[in-house]
Structure formats: C-alpha cells, structure tokens
Amino acid sequence: MQDTSIHISNGRQGTAIVLALVFATILLQLAISYSGLIGQTRPQTELIDERVRLHYLSKGLTEIALLKFQKFPSDFYNCWRHQASTSANVSFWLDTNGPLARYTIEAPEMKEYKTTGFSESTSSFNTRPICFNLTEMRLMTSNRWNVEVLQIKANAHYTTRSGKAINVDAIRTVRTERVTLR
C-alpha cells in the first residue's frame, strides 16, 4: 500500500542548540570583559599606593628645607635680595643659576636622589626607585623686616612599570618673622 501521508516540518529543528550557543557566546564575552575590568582595577590601587609613598617623601624633603631655612635664614634673605635685583625673570626664585638657586632648588642636598632614585620606600607591589627634589622655595610677600610667608614645594616622581610618569607635590607654607639681632 502506498503511503500518501505528507510530513510537514515546522522548521524548529535545532533551534534550542542554536539559541544556547548564542547565549553561551554572549556569556563568554561578558566573562572576558569582566576579567579585563578586574585587570584594570589592580593597577589603579597600586597607583594610590605609590602616590601615598611619593607624598610622604616629598613632605619629608620640605621638612629638611625648612630646617635649612631655620638654621641659615640671613643667608636665604641675602640670596633672595640679590636674585630679585639681578634676575630679569619675574619668577626669579625658579632661576637655576645664582646664589638663591644654590641655596634652594640646585642645592645638592635638595635633589641628591634625582639621578640615583630612592628605593628604600618599597612595597611588594612595586620596587621601582622614587626620585624627589625641591622645586620651589620662595617668599610669598615682599615686606622686609616684617611678617612674611615662606612657601616650600617639593616633588617626588617615579615611572610605573607601564611607563607612566607619576608626580606628587608637597607644599609647606610657614609664617616667618625677620628680626634684627644686635
């Protein structure tokens, strides 16, 4: 007897597997991008860690600069007056030549780690050397023989493993008073 029945397929064969594969691919992509995000978070935490270390080092240098000023104030004032009168630069305290520069930003004790780095402050996350130096030491006011403000700025910097330069400044501002010793 001849089979006269007609088979009608509704075209849904294999649909579940296709859907599952598509869904699985999407999930896999999510996992990959999430994994990438985690990978980016860690360096950010390390940057915070490094910034704190840089801050403490530059802050320490301002302390040494202030000590120098406290021990030898008249020499600073003499250098300041001389530089102010001879320099053509409005921001003469940033000059790298002259006695003021030798007292402040070019003094060896204020930038001695510039070439050698400072590796004592380390962590198990980053042991790259840190350099720091005095960047500015200036009087904020022009009153002579009166109350003045002295501002000291130091910078600490290092280069991350990925080659990114990180800089942190520390600023110390103190009130000073000139007195004549007789």
């Binding site: 294999g14 999430y34 915070i48 704190v52 080092l57 030898f72 004790e109």
Partner: protein, 177 residues
C-alpha cells in the same frame, strides 16, 4: 484517495533540550571563575588598603613623638608598643578581620650637609644687592634629621607569600620641636 496530513513536531526534542542545558551550564563556568577571581582580588586589595591606612596612621603618630625620643633606638627596628606621656604607638602584630598585620618602625639618623652661599660682607655696596658676591660654604650636620620608616607586613588568606608596604619620610629638628 485522500492523503493524511501528519504534523511532526520534533523541532525541540528532549535530547536537544538536554544538550542546550549542558552548553548553557558550561558557559556559566567561566563567569563563575571570573567572579571567584574578582572576590579574591577584592579581598587582596582590601588587605592592601588596610595596610596602607595602618602604615600612614602609625607613621603620622611616630612623627608626633619628641624628636629625641628615639635617640637610644636609632637604626633599630622597633616592633613593640612605644609610648610617651599622652601618646601611644602600637607596633607589632595586630589581627584585623582574620588577617595579621605586623608593623615595625625604624628611626635612623640621616646626617648630611647644607650648601650655603654666604655673602662676602666686605665686597660690594651693602645697599645695592646687585653688587653683592657670594662664596659657597658646606655645613655638615648630624642628629638634626631623622628618617622614619614604617613597614607593615601581612599574608593574605590562602597565600603563603608575605606582602609588605613601606612608607618613609624625614623629620627635622625644627625650632618648634
């Protein structure tokens, strides 16, 4: 003869559904793996942040001690609690949320020298700074600047490697001390 119409509905069979479920289950594995790694990373960062905070807190406290308080221990690692009237600094082991942090402070002298351009008083007009000349003088110093180094070490849960974090700063004997 009239043909019989037979609708076959075997588009989604039990085998197919089971296979799909298996594929989906497998695809969840990397997600679960990444989430586990994320939790571990967060825990590690939490430990690092805590160590950083502890380190800062203790270093700041150490800077509040009188300058000459550490004279007898210069260059020696201090890992037990130290105190001065009104001020206590806890060093050594501290367990916080199951992680033991070990803090140690080392204060050492940092001798050095200052370069001082000194004005030649017998040269030039005292009222005209342009005419002044200077001679560089080096002045050595000792026991005027201390290096404060605070190290916090810890081990993350399930990790045998010891991690550490160090902060260093300088403390000068300023006239206000």
């Amino acid at each position: 003869m009239t043909p019989t119409v037979c609708r076959t509905t075997h588009g989604v069979t039990l085998t197919e559904v089971m296979l799909a479920v298996v594929i989906l289950a497998l695809s969840f594995l990397p997600i679960i793996g990444v989430m586990g790694a994320s939790v571990k990373a967060t825990t590690k960062e939490d430990s690092l942040n805590r160590a950083m905070n502890l380190c800062q807190e203790k270093l700041n406290t150490s800077l509040q001690f009188p300058f000459h308080h550490f004279d007898l221990n210069l260059g020696v690692e201090i890992n037990s609690t130290i105190a001065t009237p009104g001020l206590t600094l806890t060093l050594g082991d501290e367990t916080i949320e199951g992680v033991t942090y070990t803090s140690a402070l080392t204060v050492s002298d940092r001798p050095g020298s200052f370069l001082i351009p000194v004005r030649n008083l017998d040269v030039g007009n005292p009222d005209d700074p342009k005419t002044w000349t200077f001679t560089d003088t080096t002045v050595n110093y000792a026991n005027l600047v201390h290096t404060h180094k605070l190290k916090v070490a810890w081990k993350n849960k399930g990790d045998s490697t010891e991690k550490f974090y160090t902060l260093v700063t300088f403390r000068a004997k300023l006239s206000e001390d």
